[in-house]
Amino acid sequence: MIRYIGRRLLIAIPTLILISMFVFALQKLLPGDPALIMAGDQRDPSAIAYYRLKYHLLDPIPVQYFYWVSDMFHGDFGMSLRTKEPVLTLIGEKLPVTIQLAVMSMFLALVIGIPTGILSAVKKGTITDYIANIVALSGLSIPNFWLGIMMILLVSVHLGWLPASGYVSPFDDPVQSLRTMAMPSLVLGAMIASAFMRHARSAMLTVLKTDYVRTARAKGLREHVVILKHAFRNALIPVVTVAALIFGELLAGAVLTEEVFTIPGFGKLIVDAVFNRDYAVVQGIVLCTAVAFILMNLVADLAYLVLNPRMRDAA
């Protein structure tokens, strides 16, 4: 197992190097001298000279890349042009907000998506299956920012049940925090639930055709025991591992959800950074997201190993 983890971590290294090259190359897409952009509108010559020296902009590009990477290894992801704060500090401040949104959305998605998928598979070909499939396909086809706008219109503007925007930390006021995050979590969760439903249905349909389920039925076990005790547990294995992979969609969805509900999280940070031409922040976020995504993939692989004894032996 440890050797397997080590091997997977080793495979991640070239991927990380390539991502860092890609993120570094992004700033080279910008027209003109990066020092001029960093110096702001005043374009003070001493500031321009300072940035050229600090970021080694007069050196060849491979040398610039080397310095850039070595700064990151020392925890220096650059400085926000707008707030003059270190990028890593900014990300650290916003991350808990997005984590709360992601956890609540994931919870709702699992609670809605998996039982619906299982039910749809068990009732394959019936009206229940048909409706569940339509709902799942609709969930994947509705742009989540539009769903958010429609929910604000209905729940906040017309019914006045929940606040339309803003954020309250659960440590300050847990009830108000839940109220502000309920709608965004549902919007983001709905998108992910549709994906879970499709995966759960497909996994359950595969499991229901296996010999051990047929044997369990042949033994005369009741249908709900066969479904819940034998089929469900095994169908859950691929779905749980998919949960880690859906993390990427969750982060991307959070960008739009946070924008619609004006939540000051990770997603709002990247959008604001884009419009303030705060490129160091954009680069930092892309890099952090990629690292998190690689780690989540590793967690997915490990979860698969832990849950599936056959894979454990193979590893």
Partner: protein, 294 residues
């Protein structure tokens, strides 16, 4: 001689039979036909936009600001009196164009890359696969936002950003299909009679991975349309005053209480066209899958 025989078998018997089977299955799939109908309707509307009897989508009318749907303005007007229906129809052009062009950008780059990686294997495959892994490690929309941010906000740059972000999936799909196809007898046969790599790839492998690429393209157009709307919603796609469904929603968000219809129509349009492509893609996948029985 052998090549002629293989070609004649491919073209004269197997292909038409497979085509008719696929077509028959697709025609009998009501969901796929419904999806095709939706897509066809939107394509028709987008193409006919210049000749339809609708107002100029950018013409403002300060006497008809935020008017609810009426006989004069079927879908109402926006915050500066522009006709919502006209903007919706012209917005269809931007959305469909973005969906199709970004997927074409992806195909032009990633299908040859996937073909080369899968066919030759070795170090070429390793390099292409590592680049694919790196691109896959960044969530699609975040990658597209970052690219669009650095390229600058415009519809063309949004299409490039979406196209580049969608590349890893296409490379993976193509490579996977090539790996399955390249060990088939007819490829081995083509190799045995001394055909060159380029001829084998273009004549024997590409036609056999085409169906997988077609299915992925249809589903990817749906993803690309949502991505373009998302980028336009964030201000990184189509720039005002040119109409786009995403940017219409950005404006609508500020007038939810006064003019809720502004937020309704663009969202419904995105939903319909995306579900159309998804249904069509699912139908194509089922029809082209030989494991699916009639």
């Amino acid at each position: 001689m052998t090549v002629t025989t293989m070609d004649s078998v491919d073209r004269a018997t197997v292909a038409p039979r497979a085509e008719s089977r696929v077509w028959k299955k697709l025609r009998s799939n009501r969901s796929a036909l419904f999806g095709f109908g939706i897509v066809f309707f939107f394509v028709l509307v987008a193409v006919l936009a210049p000749v339809l009897p609708i107002p100029n989508p950018t013409a403002t009318d300060w006497g008809a600001v935020r008017k609810a749907p009426s006989a004069a303005h079927w879908l109402g007007t926006d915050e500066i009196g522009r006709d919502e229906l006209a903007r919706l129809i012209w917005g269809a052009q931007a959305s469909l164009l973005a969906g199709v062009v970004s997927v074409l950008i992806t195909i032009v780059i990633s299908v040859p890359a996937g073909l080369v990686a899968g066919y030759f294997g070795g170090w070429i495959d390793t390099i292409i696969s590592r680049i694919t892994d790196a691109l896959l490690a960044t969530p699609f929309l975040i990658l597209a936002i970052a690219l669009a941010a650095f390229l600058g906000p415009s519809l063309v740059n949004a299409m490039i950003a979406i196209g580049v972000s969608a590349m890893p999936i296409f490379i993976r799909v193509t490579r996977g299909q090539v790996l399955a196809v390249k060990t088939e007898d007819y490829v081995e046969g083509a190799r045995a009679i001394g055909l060159g790599h380029f001829r084998i790839i273009t004549r024997y492998i590409l036609p056999n991975v085409f169906s997988a690429i077609l299915v992925q393209s249809t589903l990817s157009i749906a993803v690309a349309i949502i991505a373009e709307a998302s980028l336009s919603f964030l201000g990184l796609g189509q720039q005002p005053p040119a109409p786009s469904w995403g940017s219409m929603l950005t404006t609508a968000k500020n007038f939810l209480e006064q003019a809720p219809w502004m937020a309704l129509w663009p969202g419904i349009a995105i939903f319909l066209v995306v579900i159309g492509f998804n249904l069509l893609g699912d139908g194509l996948r089922d029809a082209l899958d030989p494991r699916e029985t009639d």
